[in-house]
Amino acid sequence: MIWKNEADPLPKGSRGAFALVALCALLATDARGADTGAPVGLNLSAPGVAWAGFVAPRESNYQVARTFNDYSNPSTGIGPVTDDPAHPFVNNEVAREMNIQPTYRVADLTNEAGKNLMPWVQEALKKQNELVLRGRNGESREARCWETGVPAFHLNPGPMHIIQTPKEVVLFLAGRSRHIWLNVPHSRNPKPSWYGESVGHYEGDTLVVDTIGFNDKTFVDSYRTPHTDKLHVVERFRLIDNGNTLEVAFTVDDPGAFYKPWSGTRNRHRVVNPNNRLAESACAEANDDYFNIGLEPVPTTEKPAF
């Protein structure tokens, strides 16, 4: 699926008037500030605004297509697991761009990120690599309707909708949701969960989110790199590129899985369309292993709780 950036709906001549209206709106917002309580340092939520992980370039662009569903490397330090150069990963966008076959992911276990993995993690990825090379289990966890965890939540290329209140920020992406509780400390013993316990605060115009309390059932990336319940992720959300890009820079620490913390970024692009609403998702509908290629089953409840 491709998300095109909608053209700015404002005619050029109306910009001055728009600026004045915006100023008025600002004053008006101030006037009712008592309603909303705490100031919001970073405004990511507005009618019709969503943040797309991928926007198809107008012109053919291999480098842009590469960012379809992957993290970007940090400027310094250890980055995320990447593809084995002997088996280059070709995502659907790159495949379209280059007119070649897409492939499944085979992790590079010999580069810096690969060497940063503890032996049991290396072993798990080795097994997964072997499965993929035999044509089995190539789909990501996410494609099989499982909860993604953090930071893998960010990998879906679709539009992320955000709700902000003085007490919490809720991220909605591809039928999943994550809560970030603002200006509160972590619980003493958070109940282990898929997205952990996220607490956040604004540092100027950056939203800083600290997450612990994960279960150990998710993977940190689409290579199926496992982690333990000691996982600790710090994410910094900020706007760059004149407010048109949401940058999520994150650091992943897990003393039970990685020798050193590693980091990455995932940028999302502002898309504006008044009809662009948060939508329901029914991932497991008609999502069977039709071609019998060893896909992981979708999450299924054998005995519902009620």
Partner: protein, 238 residues
């Protein structure tokens, strides 16, 4: 030029004043986290009695019940966690949260399978003919306030959901009107169901929830053990 600036200034003052006035009589606050204190697998009609199924509705219900029993039909909302549809989602024994943001939208987020309902405020209800290629589990909803009451109209439902956990059917032409109102720490939702394909008349169901500032929505995955529901009357482990 000066006159222009004056006009803009005056206009601006008006907008600010209007917003403050609006703030004084701001839309009623229905936001918050809510949790039902009782659950029923079967729809309880306002005024009692059985759902007024017509002949086609009765045939459909009998067939669904038989197929659920022999396993040829799965209750997908429970088994693989696709959305519940209206009104079943409102009967959930898990908490849900209402946000009155972003502007012009009321957003409902349910703990159960993190389902969402988006209610677009102060817009006309779309015509069913225009939604035929985009029928949804939880339908398409618009809303407005009538005094303290949030009135939500929904249409454009697919027919893959049941009205309740027993398999009560509905057709694609179903529409619903909800009247949602908060009184103190209690929220009620009275839902009128209009579905002439399967029912002889419109009927109503009513759900009541408590405002729970002490409850945070939790993560939900289909195959998991979830929060303790023992405080919710009527939940029987299957």
């Amino acid at each position: 030029m000066q006159r222009g600036v004056f006009l803009v200034g005056a206009g601006c003052a008006l907008i600010v004043a209007a917003t403050m006035a609006h703030s004084a009589g701001a839309p009623p606050d229905v936001s918050g986290t809510y949790w039902a204190t009782s659950y029923s697998a079967k729809l309880n009609l306002v005024g009692g009695g059985d759902p007024p199924l017509n002949a086609a509705g009765k045939a459909a219900y009998d067939k669904i019940k038989a197929r659920l029993k022999d396993g040829s039909l799965l209750d997908k909302a429970r088994r693989v966690c696709v959305p519940d549809g209206v009104p079943r989602v409102m009967a959930s024994p898990y908490p849900f949260e209402i946000f009155q943001t972003p502007e012009g939208q009321v957003t409902m987020l349910f703990e159960m399978n993190h389902q969402v309902r988006v209610i677009v405020m102060d817009r006309p209800l779309p015509k069913l003919e225009g939604l035929i290629t985009d029928l949804r589990y939880n339908g398409h909803s618009v809303g407005h306030f009538e005094g303290d009451t949030l009135v939500v109209e929904s249409i454009g439902f697919n027919d893959r959901t049941f009205l309740d956990a027993t398999g009560l059917p509905h057709g694609e032409s179903m529409s619903t009107i909800e009247r949602i109102k908060r009184t103190g720490n209690q929220l009620e939702d009275v839902i009128t169901i209009h579905d002439p394909e399967f029912y002889t008349r419109d009927f109503q169901v009513r759900f009541v929830y408590q405002l729970r500032i002490d409850v945070r929505l939790e993560d939900y995955a289909c195959n998991d053990t979830h929060r303790d529901l023992s405080s919710v009357r009527g939940v029987q482990r299957r």
